[in-house]
Structures are given as C-alpha cells and as structure tokens.
Symmetry: C2
Subunit: 406 residues, 2 copies
C-alpha cells in the first residue's frame, strides 16, 4: 500500500465511524417484547450511496429510498424495522411509510427528506405505522455509540446471530473508519444479492458519483456473490453514509485503502450472511475457472451453487461429483465435458471429465468433512473465472420456511 | 373428433400396443436381487423417434441413442438399466455400452444397430457390462406381453411407484394403441424435462419427420412442463417406437386423435412423475396468464415453480403470496406489480397486486389443504400464458438426496 497506510479491524459495527449513533426499541411491529425498530443517526448531513433490489416488485421503502439517495442525499438517518416488509400494500403502504418518517423527523429534529426507511419481514401486510411512531421518542432517547449491537439485533428476522463489522484505515493524516451491519438468512441471492446492509464512514466525500461507484464495486464483489436459495427479495438494499467527521477525503489521500476497507466490510458481512443461511450446516464456495467469458463463468458457478442436488450432496458429505458436472452442463456455459477438472477442498477428484482413479472414495468423503468446502471446477475452455458463496440445503431450511408466518 | 374416432384407456403400459413384448431381470448392476435391467422388444422393425437431454454433459447412451434414431432407425429393442448412469466414464464407458449391445444382439437374434440402450443411476461409475451380458439370455427368455409391469419396475431409481399408461384410438378401420412407461423422481426439470420414458405404438408410420414432430410437440407440452428441482440429467430421453402391427397409418386416417393419444400418454406419465417427486406431499401447477410473450410466461411460471420459498410455503400450507409475487418480480417477465392478480385453487387472494380484503386468512389456508394446488397468476400485461407442474419441497427430499449413494 502507498504511504504505509494500514487497515485494521475496529470495534463498534455501524457506529464505529466517528459521528454516528444507533439504538433500537421493541415497537411491537409483529411480536411483543422483541427489538424490531433500529435507528442509525449521523450528527452531520452524510453523503449517501445506495444499491437496491432489481426485483420488479419493489417495497415502498425501496421506491422512497432510491429517490432520496439519488444524487447523494444528504441523509441524517436510517430507520429499519423487522417484522413487516411493507411491500405490495398499495398507496396506503406508502402513506404508512410517510407517517413513520414524519414522526421520526419530529422525534429527532431532522428533515423528513434526510431520513430513509428500510423494512424486512412478511410481504403484503400493512405496516403498524402508529405503533412505530409511538416508539420513536424512546428510540431517539436510546441513541448512543454503544447502540450498534441493539441495532444489529433489531434488524434480524430468521437470522440466528447479529452481523456487524468495522475496519479502520490508518493514514498519516489520521484514521478513517468504515463500519456496518446486515441481516440475511432467507431470500439471499443473485442480482442484488440480498437483504439489508447499512454502512457508515467518517470519510469526508464530496463526489457522489465516485462514492456510488466504489460502493457498487464492493457490493458486486461481496453481496452479489452470495446465494442461499436463489430468491431475491422485494426489499433488498445496501445504503452507505459518509458523514465526514474524520476530515479526510479518501479519494484524495488513500482511495485504494478506503476501497479495500469498504470491500472488506461488505465481504465480511456477506460471508456472515451465508454462514447464517436458514438451516445451513456448511458453507461452500463454487469457483469456476477456465470459462470462455466472465458471464459464462458466473452462470456456471451460480447453477452449481443453486442446484438442489449439489446442495444436498454437500450436506450429506457425499462427493457426488456427477451432480456438479451435470449442473455445469445445463448452465449454458460452453465447454467440452472431457476437459473438465473438479476438485473438492483441493482434492483433484475429477480429471478430464472422469473420476481420478488415484483418489479413494474415503479421501473424497474426508474432503467434505470441514464446515467450509471449496468446489473448484476448471472448464479448460477459456480464461475467465467467477466465485459464488453459498450454503448447503437442510431439513431445517424446510422447517423454517414452511412455517415462517406461523 | 372427425369420423367418430374415440380415445379410450387401455391396459398393458409399454406392451399395450400389438407387436411388443417386455421383461426384466435382476442383473446386480448396483444392488442384488432387484429388477434393474428391462427390455422392450418389437417383433417388427419399428420407426423410432427420440428426444434427448439438452445438458452439455451427455451420457454414452444418449450419444449412441441419438445417432441410432436419427432418420428413424428402424429399431427392434430398447434395453434400460437402473443403478448406473454410464455418464462421464470416458471411452471405456462407450465400450461397456457396446459390449452390452452386442450381447443383446446375440441373445435376441437382432442387429446391434437396431438396439438402443438407456441408463439411469449414479454418474461417473463404470457400467458392470459383463454382469448385464450374463443376465441377457434370462432376460430374453422372460419377454412377454405381461412383462410391462416388471419393465416399469426395473427402471425405477428413487421412484416409489412404477409409471405406465396406455390409450387406444378406435377408428372405423380398427384400433391403434399408444402405451408407455417412465421413471422420474429426481433431476426433473426444464429444457428436456427429465427422466426416461419409452413409448410404443402399433401405428404404421412411414414419415419419420412427421413422427418426430408429433413426439416433440407431445414432449414439449408434457415432460417439458414438469419441474421438480430444476436439475436436468445427463441421461434424459424419450424414445417412441412405431411397430406398424395395426396396419393403420394415423397420418392418413386419424392424425389428430393419434396425436391426442400420444400427448395423453406423455401427459399422464409426466404427471405421475411430478406426483412421485422425491419426498413430495403436494403437487402444484403454476399457471401464468396475461404475460407479454409466451417466453416471458414460461420464465415467470418456472421461476415461481422453482422458488424454494414458494415450494416450502406450499408444503407448509402457508398462503404466503408475497413469495409468489416476489418470484414473478425477479423472473424477468415485464409487468406492473399493481396489476397482478393471484388465486390459489380459485380463491382470489391477490387483486391489483394487493391482498384481497374479502378473503380471510382461514379461507386462504383452507385453499392450500388439498393435495393438488393450482396457483394462477394473471400479470395483466399481455395475452400469453404458460403452465408448469411441480411439487412441494420437503425434509424428505433432503434426506433422500443427502444420502443417495449410501
């Protein structure tokens, strides 16, 4: 790295960066006595960048939020509720969102235009707007630098653990911190990966286009490379706020290290999401190498990662490589079956499209014992590659998703 | 129907048509004392038509069979083994296939060129060719008109019930019969639907192109409309033999009724396959109406049918229509979310993209109680429609596929 700038892990999740506070309350959105509304507040107007779901069916918070971050905001706060997606709820749903935003503006002394809302939960049910509004004064009073943990917990749905992470870039002029939190678990997929994630930084950024491009690149390499069940939600968003309190403009001083820190936070949060896929017992990465194009590499990797037969074989620690080869074969990627090599955690199980006779069944099974599995498929058809991170498919996934609303 | 030709159900599966015999033996391909090799023999050279997997990775039997039915054969017999796919086994795999075919030619007194082989089972393992060859004399001796039931049982893998069906077209000149058998269960999917299916008819057909076109149309509307888990096998094939023993050329006398009979047999076998999807407790049909094109309608229907979240909701009898709408939204079909209507078994649950307030949660749940569910989504964006038949996703699917090879 230039100038000896260092990147180190930091404490504090979404409030690790100077100038941000967070908190959460139990507003009773869906269940009683459960933290279900979180707020992240910036003490300064923060330059915002956002990436939103590509699903044609978009929740009200996506429509409203996308408009607010266009051009960079600026934003002062992000309110997040779990328990209700506020999607497919018609004009009343947008009115509900505006009711909450107005209440939040009053409770925090900010402008409604500087406040963004995100929702996650069941689609099609009305948002209990007044229950949330009634809880906002308590929420505003609960804001603190320590509130990051409560906030990360409040945005969980079927997540089993809160997800937060932060990195600091140490420069000769001082430090810049990037922190964030995320929720995942179901509907983790292609396109705009998934879920909700909120990043904060005390970097002083003036160029919205550069900030958005940097975020997009980080999201593409992280959230858009994880895939739990192939479903994409109506509510997905990643929103990043740059509050400026460090006084350091990373684009002038340490662009590369800052980009690494943003990527690092996104990547860690994305991996936490895969690790916490509903019911998962193993995470695995599908790496396709030697494809004819990046697009074919990605399609091939996604097809293998989404194959139910591959997911269940990994779950059963069954080195059933024929399912991997069959998934590659239906992916649309162009290759010659007799040239494919497949390895499991480095063990060269398949060479030239056939079982490697030097690898015993026992050692092939042993390669699948670890909690993390790397499936590498070399198509030997070109020079492009892609990776997708995913998880196995278990009976618990069925249990969780067959009874989600009960 | 013209001329009062009638179509009625017939007994006898793959030997229902005059001129065909079938039988099966336990050759010990993978397990002992289990019927695992079936033979269907035509007493006359039969004009063949075939549709094969579109997977880029093709089993040896697909490569060999495709070449043999090109131009119509003619074929005398089809040998099918379960327990081993003979795919991804290199040049030795093709030699194994030829060894078996030569043995079959000797045992039945026919030409190797007139014999087709089909395999299903684990990918990547060598075919025990000599074990099969040793069993062929017994198999040839076991052939009979009653052998259809044994044959249908021998081709099963994780299927729980044998699948056979037959229809007869009654004309003024006599009857034509179309019968068939199939196996399915896993890897049932798009592209070339699935599985193995063998049809026989005593129709006298001289025009191979017409016969192939008729089969393709029937497959497109049946096997290619069922989808269990989105996976396509390396071994899929549908092969139809027209032996001619009825002396009636359907293309001259009763083309439409004959086509209906072929479609009817394919459709019934395809539905049996969906019903027998690994671990399934419910079958459901996704019908997308009002799409802008047939292609968009099909993509939308497939995306809903393949969504793990939809499959698990149907399993849990949870009328979680938001998951259906979200799947439509990521399918790539163009529509306005506010115009979508969704009904479950005729119950209008969603109107104009929102929950119909006149439908109670109780009645919505009740609509999902039957073993068969019709999910209809009207996009109100055009005039094209498509249907996909599929099944729910259960913990038993995971159990079966996590331990398939054990």
């Amino acid at each position: 790295m230039a100038d000896g700038n260092r990147i180190v892990q930091a404490e504090g999740g979404v409030t690790a960066a100077a100038g941000f506070t967070a908190g959460a309350v139990a507003a009773g959105v869906r269940k009683k006595d459960r933290l279900d509304v979180a707020l992240v507040l910036s003490e300064t107007p923060a330059l915002a960048a956002g990436v939103f779901t590509r699903n044609r069916v978009k929740a009200h918070c996506v429509l409203d939020g996308r408009a607010k971050v266009r051009g960079g905001g600026p934003l002062r706060g992000v309110l997040v509720n779990s328990g209700c997606a506020n999607a497919c709820t018609g004009p009343e749903g947008m009115a509900d969102l505006r009711t909450v935003i107005r209440g939040l503006a009053a409770a925090t002394g900010t402008s409604a235009r500087a406040l963004l809302m995100a929702s996650t939960g069941v689609i099609g049910e009305r948002l209990p707007a007044y229950r949330i509004v009634n809880a906002l004064p308590a929420l505003a009073g609960a804001l603190s630098r320590e509130g990051h943990a409560d906030a990360a917990r409040a945005i969980m749905t079927t997540d089993t653990v809160p997800k937060e992470f932060a990195l600091t870039v140490e420069t000769a002029r001082g430090v810049i911190t990037v922190g964030g939190m995320a929720k995942g678990a179901g509907m983790i997929n292609p396109s705009m990966a998934t879920m909700l994630s909120f990043l904060t930084t005390d970097a002083l950024i003036g160029d919205h286009a550069a900030w958005l491009a940097l975020l997009r690149e980080a999201v593409e390499g992280s959230f858009n490379r994880v895939d739990a069940d192939g479903d994409t939600s109506t509510n997905d968003m990643v929103v990043a706020l740059a509050g400026g309190r460090s006084g350091i403009d990373p684009f002038a001083l340490c662009r590369e290290e800052f980009a690494q820190a943003v990527r690092g936070v996104c990547d860690r949060l994305a991996r936490m999401i895969v690790r916490d896929t509903e019911g998962a017992t193993k995470v695995f990465t599908v790496a396709v190498l030697g494809a004819r194009s990046g697009r074919e590499a990605e399609r091939a990797a996604r097809t293998v990662a989404e194959s139910l037969l591959v997911k269940t074989a990994i779950h059963g620690q069954d080195p059933n490589w024929g399912r991997i080869l069959a998934a590659l074969g239906r992916s649309g990627a162009r290759f010659h079956p007799d040239r494919v090599a497949i390895s499991l955690n480095g063990l060269p199980l398949v060479l030239e499209g056939r079982r490697n006779p030097l690898v015993s069944e026992e050692s092939a099974r042993a390669a699948l014992l670890p909690d993390e599995v790397l499936v590498e498929a070399h198509l030997n058809a070109g020079s492009s590659s892609a990776r997708i991170h995913t998880a196995d498919l278990t009976a618990d996934y069925i249990r969780i998703n067959a009874s989600y609303r009960s």
